[in-house]
Symmetry: C2
Subunit: 183 residues, 2 copies
DNA sequence: GCCACCATGTAACACGTTACATGATTTG
DNA sequence: CAAATCATGTAACGTGTTACATGGTGGC
């Protein structure tokens, strides 16, 4: 998914500035789709505007640069919906954590411990984010469904980490002992 | 994770050619870490060799270009292990499927149905891949642990899709009906 | 007969990130 | 008082993809 489509997707849920789009895409609910930085978002928004898929209104502010609030147009909405109808790309899961886990026997137990803690913290944070807006105004059928999907996945992940984390540390400890004994 | 590290990671599990590395990274067990294409793998391997982190031996073949089999060196192994000890990046999950689900109320039921089927097929395929090598020679403690982690996650995903898939289709159908009634 | 698989490699191209430029306000 | 947050934007840079070039073998 390109930054262009990402902007359209976020704007289809409401007006936003480039700054806000970046936040949503790196931390917020839209981080499941793609994340992007300022350097790609601002040019993308400018192009969307010249293509007539979004409109801008400037809101001057004292001290700060004027906020440029973008709104999606009918044409933008149509392009967005059409893009969703095209054959979807595969979901991907990229896990630096699993690479560490895979090599547990070659790493110091301390590294494994840290990696587990970090991953648990991440999952907790994602769960917090998902349950947070459960009582908010942002409730429509699609978002309820996806939220519950996310919660189900994260809960299992967390349970697995908590139940089997010690076993992973043990792998590292055992092989460290064997190395020490061989010397 | 760069293609360079990816190559090192795969080679730390055994010798391979550039062609094989691409397969492992796009389809095989290493697709959880990153995937890369020929255009990035071949240059990366050449650089790794000139840096002394891998060695090559050519195996001539009739008709085809000679296979260039790469092996990791001690220096390569050290760099790989060290890279795993550095603070890990966060795991990421990118889901074109969830974007479709989120917008279920704006899409034709047929699109939702297709998206669900496609996602289910993907999860089935991942489960097949994970359970496949359960009885194989590729069994060491780290890979057992990560495999079981993967299986646990995929099973929940699949169960959720099977239990709640109909509800998602219903969201699309209901809103399509409302649109029709309004006309 | 055509397509997929094996097998390597290069060059043009697209895309996105990082760092820079600017600067007020709030929070610890 | 320093750091984070809000707020926009550009330019250099890095990295990776796509398409091309080449060509034999085996399955449908």
């Amino acid at each position: 998914m390109s930054v262009r489509s990402l902007c359209l997707a976020i704007l289809s849920f409401g007006d936003a500035t480039g700054y806000e789009i970046r936040k949503e895409s790196t931390e917020g609910r839209f981080s499941y789709f793609d994340d992007a930085s300022f350097g790609s978002i601002y040019p993308a928004l400018a192009r969307l505007e010249s293509d007539g898929l979004v409109t801008v209104r400037e809101e001057p502010q004292a001290g700060k640069p004027a906020r440029k609030v973008y709104s999606i147009t009918e044409a933008g909405r149509t392009e967005f919906i059409n893009s969703l109808c095209e054959p979807q790309a595969a979901d991907t899961f990229k896990s630096p954590f699993l690479l560490i886990a895979l090599n547990a026997a070659q790493l110091p137990p301390e590294v494994i411990r840290r990696a587990l803690e970090r991953r648990k913290a991440q999952v907790h944070e994602e769960l917090r984010l998902l349950t947070e807006c459960e009582n908010e105004e942002c409730r429509h059928p699609g978002s309820d469904w996806t939220r519950n999907y996310g919660i189900a996945c994260m809960n299992v992940t967390l349970a697995y980490l908590e139940e089997h984390g010690e076993a992973l540390i043990k792998i590292a400890e055992d092989s460290a002992e064997q190395l020490a004994a061989a010397e």
